[in-house]
Amino acid sequence: MAAQPDPDLDTGQTAAFAVATPAAARRERILLAAAAIAVVLLVLVPLTSTDQAQSAGLPQLVDRYWFRVATTMAMFVVISAAWNLIGGLAGYPAFGNVVYFGIGAYAVAVLVTRYQWSFAAALGASVVVPAAFAGLIGVPLLRLRGHYFAVASLGVAVAVGEVINNLDYFGGASGIFMPIVRSDLLFYYLMLGAALLAVAITWVVLRTRFGYGLIAIREDEGAAAVIGVNTTLYKVAAYALSAALTGLAGGIYAQWNVFVNQDVAFNIDVSIDSILMALIGGIGTIWGPVIGAVVLEFLIQTFAGRGDLAVVTQIGLGLVLTVAVIFLPRGVVDFFGGRSSLTLAYVRRTLRASGV
């Protein structure tokens, strides 16, 4: 006899491991097939804009604007999926992850302009340096919980950004200019590759002991500890991994944007947007950050405007955020996994569980 679902246990997180019914398994196969097709298209279609394709007579299916938007979407997939590891899986909502974006970006900028490293080698640094930094401050930082952790991580982001802004070694307030590399295609593929990497890593993590351990930490850290999860190690590892991925995005961005300074590289809005994307898509899931990044970036691009219109767009964005948080705390993925459907009853249950 199954009792009524207990609202106290309904943590609002989408189950990472959906109940394996045949219907759900079939749905998952369809989604995977669709994703595979989408990836193939994403890789092949942009090739129509190369010179070889043009001279072969192929129509150019994508233009500069498309490249810019798609690359930005891919970048946010990386940042959002990276946040998902520490904020969604482990349950430690870091609000200052953009600090690793900045460290990665500046690592590339400094190594290329000052020490004549190749871009490829510098990208390696943009992964390692943020991870090392995260490993270092993660140990004391992850001892904090909830609000305190969020605020501390935010504080670190602001502090590091300010310090870099004041040091001439990093170009101070005027920032650093990279040598110009003009290639929509290159940066698109780099970001796409990073995005695929981020999703693949999330997929692997959720299938291994590491992922189960992180979710156990999120659900009940005390219980996780007594059944043998080394909580400190796992948390710091997740934090460092998310830093590495975020740093990679920053490193690619530095060369793509050609210019880095504090405003560009340590922009708190990037952190907030990436969290919002994970939220809309589905925190703690594999595809949530992907869907969220695509949807939100699409909204931002579509409604971006000048002057008064830009202001109205921001208001719209704020309203979208508010509505999403209230009515869709588990994100859109919840409806694809077969767990719920968007009905009035679902909305009412959500409101009753979250509100007062």
């Binding site: 909830g146 300010e162 310090v163 939220l279 704020g318 705390p329 509100g355 007062v356």
Partner: protein, 288 residues
Amino acid sequence: MNWTEQVVLGLLLGGVYVAVGLGFSLVWGVLNIVNLAYGAMVMIGGYVTWLLFAHAGIDPFIGIPINVAILFGIGYTLQYVVINRVVRAPFLYTFLITFGLDLVIVNALLLVFKADFRSVNTWYSGAAFSVGPVLVPYIRLWSLVVAAALAAVMWWILNRTRTGDAIQAVGADRDAAQLVGISLPRTYALTFGLGAACAGVAGALIVTYQAVTPTAGEPYTLQAFVVVILGGLGRVSATVVGGMLFGLVQVLAQGAPHIGAGYQNAIAFGVLVLVLLLRPQGLLGRTV
């Protein structure tokens, strides 16, 4: 600037920080809501005061009660209608919703008032009096007095009234409070309204010596963070200590020889992170 001047100015500045911190601390300590729109509410307070002054000639300090009433109403409504929908969810959601509200408020202000800087210049704006070697501007003195009065009023409400009992009960144990008949939605709305009222007062004080513009609110949210974390959550005395201390730190840091003005924020956040790592409950707070 010599030591005494710095200390006095630090204390005067601290008064404003106390006002800034009170509303933030109350809402965080009791409702467990970190209000990222707090700075924007401070700006609303500034604009209300400016409007009253520019269009009705009302002195900024005299206009404070009107300011309080308006901000209380805004805060109460926001909490009752919007934020109450997510207070039982993991705190991430209230964090995000207040961020959304911040976006809406700041941009609504931009739409209405444009990005121009507004300030309030009264006939006594420049005047000061001497206490020994130190020159104390009247504006700063009144600000300190108002901040002290606000702290006293808040303490009185929280510790000497039934409303305050209800608020503290909800903060201590929400479900138990409900069981004894306290209305959660209304108490939450009341608390947030009080927090907003404090933000309004802070805004009124700020606009007398600094220009306001819709986007200038963010630093105040961040400063409120530091004040609360320095002093400790929830208790008026903790916020007073945190505010005064932060004021002193700011002035001393600004005056220090090697540290340029650019490092101000970095110092503030360095302090924040250090306190969080070493003593997260702040100087006066209960153990986290």
